[in-house]
Structure formats: C-alpha cells, structure tokens
C-alpha cells in the first residue's frame, strides 16, 4: 500500500455514483465512504492504495478519534484533506442553518451562475450506475499514481456533475472542487510537520480540525493555522515605443508560466495578467518567493493579500474583511487584508543616460539603432527587443490598424459573483424570502465558482480571438483582412489591419455574441470588457495601450477610440440600437449630427440638444429611442456614425 501516493482528489469519489442504481445491484455506499460494500460477495476487488482513506475525511474531525486510528499512518493526510475540503467548498454550512431541508429538494446538474441553464442536461448519464463501470472506477482508484490522472481520466463526468447536486448548491463543478482540494492539500502537506500526537504548522500544534481552522467569522474560537490568499496583478513598466516592445507580454507569460511550473499547487489560477496564490504561514513558501521572479524581471505588481485563519480564508477579500471588521471579538482572531504596490529599483542614483523604455535602469553604453534613430535602453529592455521580431505584418502595413483588447476586472468579478448567486437562489427556490436568500449568500464562498469563471474566461478569450480573425479573413476578397497579429500566450490582445472599416463592427458583434454564449447573465454588468483602438498605422503604440488598459465601466463594456478624434463607451443594447439606427434606410446626414455634437459641446445642456435634434423631422423618430430608451449621447452617436461612414458611401453608390 505504501509505495503508492496518497491522492486527496479521491475524497469525493462517491459523488460520481448513482447510489440508488448501484444500491439495487447490492453496492451500498454510505456517505462518501466505500467500506460497507461486500467486495468478496460482489466479486469486486477492494482498492488497497492509501487514497482509499481519502473519503474518510468527512468523518475525521480529530487525530485522536477512532476514524483516525482506522486510517492508520494516513490519518494526517486525511485530516489535511478535510481542511482542504472545507477551504475549497463553495459553502460554509456550519455558518448557516439551512432554511429548507436539502434532502427534500430535487437534484440538478452543474449550473454556472453566469449562465441560464445547467451545463450538461444529460449529466445523470455520466453517473456511474453499472457494476462494470463501478469495478473499472475501483481499478483506476487502486492503480492511480498521479493526481493529474484523476482529472484526465474522469474529466467528462467531473465537468458535468456538481460538487453538490441540490439546488442552489449545484454551482461548482466537481472538477474544480477536486482540483482545488488537491492543490490545497498538497500545500498543507508540504508545510506541516507530523508530531506523535498531532500536526504542527508554523509552531502551532493541533489535533482537532477546529483548532486548525477556527470558528465562524463572528465567533471567538481562534484557528491556529494561518493561510494567505494573494492576488497579484502583473503590469508592465515598459513604454511600447516600438513593436518589438510587445515582446514584453511574451516575457511576462513566460515568467508566469515558470512560476506556475515551479509552484503548481500554490498557483490556484492564472490569467494572462494575474495570479491567485495560496500559501500558509510558516510553511516555508512565502508569497514573496512566488512573486520574486516577476520583480526580478522588472514587472511592477499590485498585490492584494488576505492573511487569515484557514477557516476565514475566502477569495472575495473585501467582503470578508468588512464582515470581519463588523463582527465582535475581532481582537482574538486573525484576519488582515493588505494592498501593496511592489516593484524593484536597485540603484539610489546613477549617472549617464536612463533607459528610455522602462525608465528604471541606466542604459547600456551603446544605443539601440534603427531607422537612424538612437534609443538608449537598459539590458532588460534590450533583451526584450531581441526576443524575436514579433510584428512584421504591422510594421509593413501602410494603412490603418485596429488594436483589440479583452480584459477581465477580477475585483468586479468578486463583487458580482455573490449577486449572481443571489439571483440564482431566488430562481431555483421560488418561495425563498429575502432573508433566507441573504443567508444563502452569506454562506457562499466564491473560490471554486471563481476558478470555473476564470476557465470560462480563458475559453471565451480564445474563442473570441479565433472567431474574429477567421470571420475577417473569410470576408469577400476586397474586404478580407490579409493578416492578423496575435501574441503567443496572450490572446487578450489582437492587432488587425483596417481594410473596409467594418472590422470594429465585427469585433463588437463577435464580443457580444460570445459574451451572450459564455456569460449571458453578465451582459448588463460585465467584468469582461472590450476595448478597440483605431488609428493610422504609425500611431504611438503606447497610446493604444494607454486606452486599451484604461479602467472601463462594467455597465458599458465596449470602449472604442478613434485616434486623434473621439472615444466612446457602449453597452450591448446601445451598440445594437446604434447599429440598427445606422442600418436604417434613411439615416441622418453627417452634417446634422456634426451640428448637434458641436452644440452639445457648447451648450452642455441635454435639454437644449433635444429640442435642437427634434427640430429635424427626419432624425426625430430614429433618435428618440436612442436618446430616451438607451441613453446614448449625441456625441456617441456621431462617433459611431463616423466609424460607419462606409455605409453612407455604399448607400450613395
């Protein structure tokens, strides 16, 4: 038994079973444990691996207990699995007296709270209901030697079956839950020391789970083990003065990937621009160990860091911090939220030239020479430029370009997930009163849902980019784009040539369509935003970047800039209304819109503009819904109109 590793992911294996169907075959599974099955009588072979004990975590509350003795030398692992399971769970039920009896409710498949329906309507087909499939599962359990094999072998059922099948708890996939439990368990396992009568972390000895984790946020029972969740936003210091400077994104991705490879269990998730890290105090690995490679390579970081007793550790930092501050008995408990900018600058003072790209280090003695222009760069920025020649297509293109960037505002996401969950509670329990719904939300822990969201976001970005490029390349010859520029490992950024001036429309439509597909419930208030910057080819890249990374309004997730001219922000309904308005057979003329926009700037009075607009009989019916129903300003209408001038040309033709 001992030559195989203990794999915590197996703790919830029973959730893959159709217990009723197996029960009729004589296979009795109680709770999460498989030890009541009569293996001999059923001609099944009982697994003999250490992971056999993982499901015991549900019952192992103390290392002094009978269950712990039953687990033998694996008791510590099972104990840590229990803690990891509590940390990764989407609900802290101990905090929460259930208003309705869960057992009387129906069951359902995995439901993402940002979607309108369950993920896989045939999820029950994925449950194991036959003796052969059950026997095969036992065989896999017995021989599995690598945690990654669990998610590979069982990926399809794990992605359809929820961690908890009773609505409204069915909001996390078993896949994400098992993965998180496995990662947290391994971080704990590598950090704790085994003592004769318990476990020790950071000098704190415990033998009971509550000793390690602590009580509810409003109780005085202190947890002795402290963990940290750290959200790291990774920025760039470089000014994008040449296309080669875009290599900085390749480098950033490379460094982040290396961190993930070095600390696979500490990095709970990674987006192209951020990391969520889990560490424990006294465990030998500090958040600074993980962020050090990024700082050494010159990336500035914005770090939010929640340090708390394990039982108080949740990923929506701000909500938990406010709750903690509002509760009594704070003095005896441990929860701190910190926000810090981090970057490094080695020298106090230096002579000579400063690097013109990062402005953080002395330049090399020799300038970077191109097109008879000298640039003084430091060693790091020179290295980035030499990574490879990334953008021949853009540099050779004589026409205008469209820079496209999709972004995720993670802080907005953590605020939004509880609201989405509350909406789902009211939907799945129609009779629930507001107080009960609020109590559900209070018990909600968004970490697992957040990792599911991030996985969807990554798929969304890839899909958006590939659909956009394919669609624009597939247009008729005279309007098809000849190239598209994408960066490996950074699908959030795409650069396209402007051939027909329709590219921005297709980009917006593709974004809205995919947003509706992937995140239909986020369309009105979206943590995912799209920024489009249109310009002549030689427009300063840094200025594109400044616009693309500007903090957007989640209510109006589409931002469009035309260089040297205007920038507008639109919601999905506003975009559709504007498109319909300008598709109209008799759209307003450019002159009348320019006239109104000039008046809007001078008068600064919406009422005066309305009177002026409604003088024009041709515009009145079309403008009314835009102005009143959708709240679009005249300037925005004009900006949008300018972008679709090709329509006017084609109409004139």
């Amino acid at each position: 038994m001992s030559d195989k590793p203990y794999i915590a992911e197996f703790h919830d294996l029973a959730k893959l079973l159709d217990k009723d169907a197996l029960g009729t075959l004589g296979i009795k599974v109680r709770g999460q444990r498989f030890d009541e099955i009569d293996y001999g009588a059923l001609s099944l072979s009982k697994p003999s691996c250490p992971s056999w004990y993982a499901p015991y975590c549900e019952d192992l509350k103390s290392l002094d207990s009978k269950v712990a003795r039953d687990c033998g030398k694996w008791a510590a692992d099972v104990f840590l699995t229990r803690i990891a399971d509590r940390l990764a769970a989407s609900f802290r039920l101990a905090e929460f007296e259930e208003p309705l009896d869960k057992r009387t409710r129906t069951i359902a498949g995995w439901r993402k709270i940002w979607k309108d329906q369950v993920e896989s309507p045939e999820w029950q087909v994925r449950l194991i209901s036959s003796k052969e499939a059950f026997s095969s599962l036992l065989g896999f359990w017995d021989r599995c030697a690598n945690p990654d094999d669990v998610s590979d072998y069982l990926k399809r059922p794990l992605s359809a079956i929820p961690e908890d099948k009773a609505p409204p708890y069915n909001i996390t996939s078993l896949y994400s839950h098992l993965r998180l439990v496995g990662m947290i368990y391994r971080v704990l396992r590598s950090a704790v020391k085994t003592l004769p009568a318990g476990l020790s972390l950071g000098g704190e000895d415990v033998s009971q789970a509550t000793q390690a984790m602590g009580g509810r946020v409003d109780e005085s029972v202190r947890g002795n083990w402290i963990g940290t969740l750290t959200l790291v936003d990774v920025g760039i210091r470089q000014h994008l003065s040449r296309l080669r400077d875009l290599n900085v994104f390749v480098k950033r991705e490379h460094v982040m990937r290396q961190i993930e490879a070095t600390f696979p269990d500490h990095v709970l998730y990674r987006t192209p621009e951020s990391l969520l890290l889990f560490t424990v105090l006294g465990g030998g690995v500090e958040p600074s160990n993980l962020t050090a490679p990024l700082l050494q390579e010159g990336f500035p970081l914005d770090v939010q860091h929640l340090e708390a007793e394990l039982g108080l550790l949740v990923s929506d930092f701000e909500r938990q911090w406010l709750k903690f501050r509002a509760s009594k008995g704070v003095a005896s408990r441990h929860l701190f939220l910190r926000q810090r900018p981090l970057n490094e600058a080695a020298q106090d003072v230096f002579h000579g030239k400063i690097c013109e790209v990062c402005q953080m280090a002395p330049s090399l003695p020799q300038p970077w020479l191109k097109d008879q222009i000298e640039e003084w760069l430091c060693e790091g920025c020179t290295g980035i430029r030499q990574l490879h020649e990334p953008a021949i297509d853009i540099s050779d293109w004589q026409g205008a370009t469209l820079w496209v960037k999709v972004s995720l505002d993670r802080r907005h996401l953590t605020l939004q997930l509880p609201s989405l969950f509350e909406y789902y509670v009211k939907e799945s329990l129609p009779g629930v009163n507001p107080d009960e719904a609020h109590r559900f939300v209070e018990a909600f822990r968004p970490l697992a849902a957040e990792t599911d969201f991030i996985r969807d976001y990554q798929a969304f970005v890839q899909e958006f980019q590939s659909q956009l490029c394919a669609q624009l390349k597939g247009l008729p010859t005279e309007t098809a784009i000849p190239w598209s520029y994408v960066l490996r490992g950074y699908p959030e950024l795409t650069v396209l040539p402007i051939v027909s001036n329709r590219e921005f429309l297709i980009a917006c439509e593709t974004f809205i369509r995919n947003l509706h597909t992937f995140f239909p419930r986020c369309c009105g208030d979206s943590p995912i935003t799209l920024a489009l910057s249109l310009s002549p080819g030689k427009y300063p890249y840094q200025e594109h970047w400044r616009f693309l990374t500007r903090k957007p309004d989640p209510k109006r997730p589409i931002s469009i800039q035309r260089a040297f001219d205007f920038d507008i922000a639109l919601s999905s309904p506003q975009f559709r209304a504007l498109r319909d308005f300008l598709d109209n057979a008799s759209p307003p003329t450019s002159a009348s819109l320019h006239h109104l926009a000039a008046l809007e700037g001078d008068l600064d009075s919406p009422t005066a503009i309305l009177f002026e607009a409604f003088k024009n009989q041709r515009m009145r019916p079309a403008l009314r819904p835009l102005l009143f129903q959708h709240g679009v300003s005249i300037e925005t209408i004009l900006g949008f109109y300018k972008l679709t001038v090709w329509q006017e040309v084609s109409r004139a033709g």
Binding site: H239, S241, P341, A345, Q347, I354, Q359, I373, W376
Partner: protein, 223 residues
Amino acid sequence: MPAEIKLVHLNLQAESLVLGDRIKRQTFRPCIDTLPSSTVAGALAEYSGGRTILGIGFLRQGSYSRALFVHSPRSQLTGVSVLPLTVECLIPRHGARFIEGDIYLLHSSDAAALVPHLPLTIHMGALRYKGFGRCTLTLNQLTRCAPGRPSNPTIPFVRGFFRGRIREPELAAFGITVVSPRYGYLAEPDPNNPRKVRYRRAIMEGSLVEAPQVFVSEEYRYD
C-alpha cells in the same frame, strides 16, 4: 513622522503645459499630469537664481484636457527638419481659461523670500521656446501638517496612495513615510558637473505612503 511641517501652498495657473514623460528620441512624447519635485524645484531655481526650494505639485482634476502638438525640430548642423514629432500637452478644459493646480513648497528661508514676490510667473516643463509652460503662482495659504487628524487649517497625516513624484532624499522633509514604494527615477543636477544631470530614485504615483493628506489621492482602507 515629523512633529510638524510648514508648507507654503501656492495656486498655479497655466495656459498650457508639456510635462514630458522621460521618453526621448521617439516621434511621440506623452505627457504626465502631475508636477514632479524635480520639475518644481528646477523651475523655482531658474526663477530665483539657483536657490534650492523644495516643492511638489499636483494638477486639479477636471481643469485640463489633453491635446497634441506636432512640430519638427531642425538639425542645428544642417537646418533641415528630421522627423515630425508629436508632443502631448495639457490645455485648459473646454470653457476654462487656465489649467489649475496646487504647489506645496517646503517652508524655508528661500521659500519665505519668494512669498513677497507673489504673484509671480515661472516657466515649467518642456517646449518653453514654443510658448508652453508659462505659469502664474499666487499664494493660497501658509499651512501646517501635523500627525493625527487635527482641525483646520492644519493638514492631517494619513495613509494612502501617493499622487505625485518625489525624489527619495526629499521625502523626510515633506513628512512622507513610504510603506510600499512604486519606484521610478527623476533627474537632478549632478553636483560634480552642474551642466549634467544624474538620476535619483524617486517615489511615483500609486506608492503607499503615510503623508500629509494633500499628497494622497486615495486613503488606504485596509490593514
């Protein structure tokens, strides 16, 4: 944290400003929207005949907008323009006459000597030969900063995110304690060769500091 700091609070009015980010040799030069201590000290030294007056400034949000200025410097040797350069500049917001800002000088004998000359005109930033950077300074008030949250007119010290740029050796004089820095570099005259500059490590916008409230853009809420 010092017991008390005396500051001379000046109002600034400018018709246009080019506060170039330190990117050179490019065809586009972006503009920052704060007044670094190096820029303020340089402009005042120029006005006062080389006296060292420490100051830091901030532009008032909403008093300015950005515009682009294209020019083409000529080669001094051949008289031929090489490349057209686009410079971002700040101009008064639509309908306003001036860009407005606040400059805080550290109270000293040199700063005090400046006060009787107010209002005065200085030139700040780049492209002055093109007419940019003319600023009028008027006295707002002499003010004190003290720890805690005392009543007006004393400015309290708070923990928050810094909204300016200041060289590290000047931090203590302004009562700024850095909790977590966002570093950058600002130029300063090289003491060994006044015709040259050297670069001094500085604290930039977004650094977490404990400082007089007027230097902070957003107070820190957490632990």
